[in-house]
């Protein structure tokens, strides 16, 4: 386990360092004044363009964690998928807030700006979870996020069940899985390729995921019941 944890740290550091730095070549706004203006004014299409340009980088940083240069300290990646989604959302929520948009001049590299927001959020979260996250150069405590063989085995078993499930799907559904999940097309793009309506894509997509959940549940790999919590409720009725 410890060895795997160490390996993960190395992988994570390497991965963080190797993240494609789009801004080193060109920020998304470079030479595109209309996009910058639309972004600053809160145009949804412009925000969508910027989001999809950077979301993979930010998600990778959040999933893998990062180390703090000089101190040797490491901030662990998100512990679970929900936390990962929450953090990605928080990053873009802050970066896309009206005041942040209006303050952005379009000249500073945008990717590093987003990554800095992500790092700050992760450091805050690590501190709140009582992890030690020293920021001064003299500190050297490592935060180790062990990744057990258990997690890998669970992924492989779920993936194996998924592949079996996919093999039994109709060709149309298999094509949709490739376009929508593997190639990451939008529903509209996938609909255009398949020659069906977007609504049909959405219906099929839901059916595919529902079927997979059923398969995983039968295999004991999907939680059927979740604990409930009482709600304090006040209504106007």
């Amino acid at each position: 386990m410890a060895r795997r944890g160490q390996l993960r740290i190395l992988r994570a550091c390497d991965a963080t360092a190797a993240l494609p730095d789009y801004d080193a070549r060109m920020t998304v706004f470079a030479g595109d004044r209309p996009l910058l203006d639309a972004f600053r004014s809160g145009d949804r299409a412009a925000l969508t363009t910027v989001y999809f340009r950077y979301v993979d980088d930010i998600a990778a940083l959040i999933r893998l964690g990062f180390s703090i240069p000089g101190s040797g300290a490491r901030v662990p990646g998100a512990r679970d998928e929900q936390t990962e989604r929450d953090l990605v959302q928080d990053v873009f929520m802050r970066a896309f807030a009206p005041r942040a948009r209006e303050a952005y001049d379009g000249l500073r590299p945008y990717g590093p700006y987003l990554r800095q927001i992500a790092r700050n959020l992760m450091i805050d979260r690590a501190r709140a979870a009582n992890h030690s996250v020293p920021l001064d150069e003299g500190a050297s405590e490592l935060v180790v996020e062990p990744e057990g063989a258990e997690a890998d085995a669970a992924w492989h078993e779920q993936r194996r069940q998924t592949l079996d499930y996919l093999a039994g799907l109709a060709p149309e559904l298999q094509s949709l899985v490739k376009l929508r999940f593997e190639d990451e097309m939008s529903q509209e793009q996938a609909a255009a390729v398949l020659g069906v309506s977007r609504r049909r894509v959405r219906t099929l997509e839901a059916r595919i995921q529902r079927g997979l959940r059923k398969v995983l549940r039968r295999a004991g790999l999907w939680q059927k019941d979740r604990p409930e919590r009482a709600l304090v409720r006040t209504g106007s009725r």
Partner: protein, 189 residues
């Protein structure tokens, strides 16, 4: 337990549907589709609260992340009054029973989910049933006040439309099958 869309993509990273859901939540907060509509909801809610009246709100335009066309499926929007969503805010549900169902009685159930926690909105009590949707859709006259049970974070709100009132067991069975009619994201700060 891995998100099914990640298993389908073959990668443990965020899947395209997850990215789209996150973007939808972000845009709903930072660039809402129709700013006038939220103000209208607040105003009409105040009137409704005072008069106990039923409130109808016109549907806003739909973007690429919501349904289009003449045959809209059932759906709903949820927002916090006042925004942003935080302890003390009221969750307001604006429901649309869909084109085909708009002429007959429709019932609506909703739960909030965050991780392994499920919070019931409608039915609001263990022996209650889903609530009747205003004919043609509109804002439900019952809101949910966010309390300490809503820790900060992102919540998936799953809605179930049905032709008859459903109790919690029936709604739970539908949700466990992954058959929620529509899902929305709300971020509690």
């Amino acid at each position: 337990m891995t998100e099914p869309s990640r298993l389908l993509s073959g990668r443990p990273a965020l899947s395209r549907p997850e990215k789209e859901a996150i973007l939808e939540s972000v845009l709903a907060q930072v660039a809402p589709r129709a700013r006038w509509r939220r103000g209208l909801v607040v105003g009409t809610l105040a009137v409704a609260a005072a008069a106990g009246a039923f409130v109808l709100v016109p549907r806003g335009p739909h973007d690429e992340l919501t349904a289009r066309g003449g045959e809209l499926p059932p759906g709903f929007e949820v927002s916090c009054v006042p925004a942003p969503c935080t302890t003390g805010s009221k969750l307001v549900f604006d429901v649309a029973p869909g084109g085909a169902a708009s002429e007959r009685a429709v019932y609506f159930a909703a739960v909030g989910q965050r991780g392994d926690t499920r919070i019931w909105y409608f039915p609001g009590t263990a022996d209650g049933h889903s609530v009747a949707v205003p004919r043609g859709g509109g804002v439900l006259d019952t809101g949910i006040v966010l309390g300490s049970e809503h820790a900060p974070g992102s919540y998936a709100i799953e809605g179930v439309f049905s032709a008859a009132p459903l109790d919690r067991a029936a709604v739970r069975a539908i949700l466990d099958r992954g058959d929620a009619t529509a899902t929305r994201q709300v971020v509690v700060r």
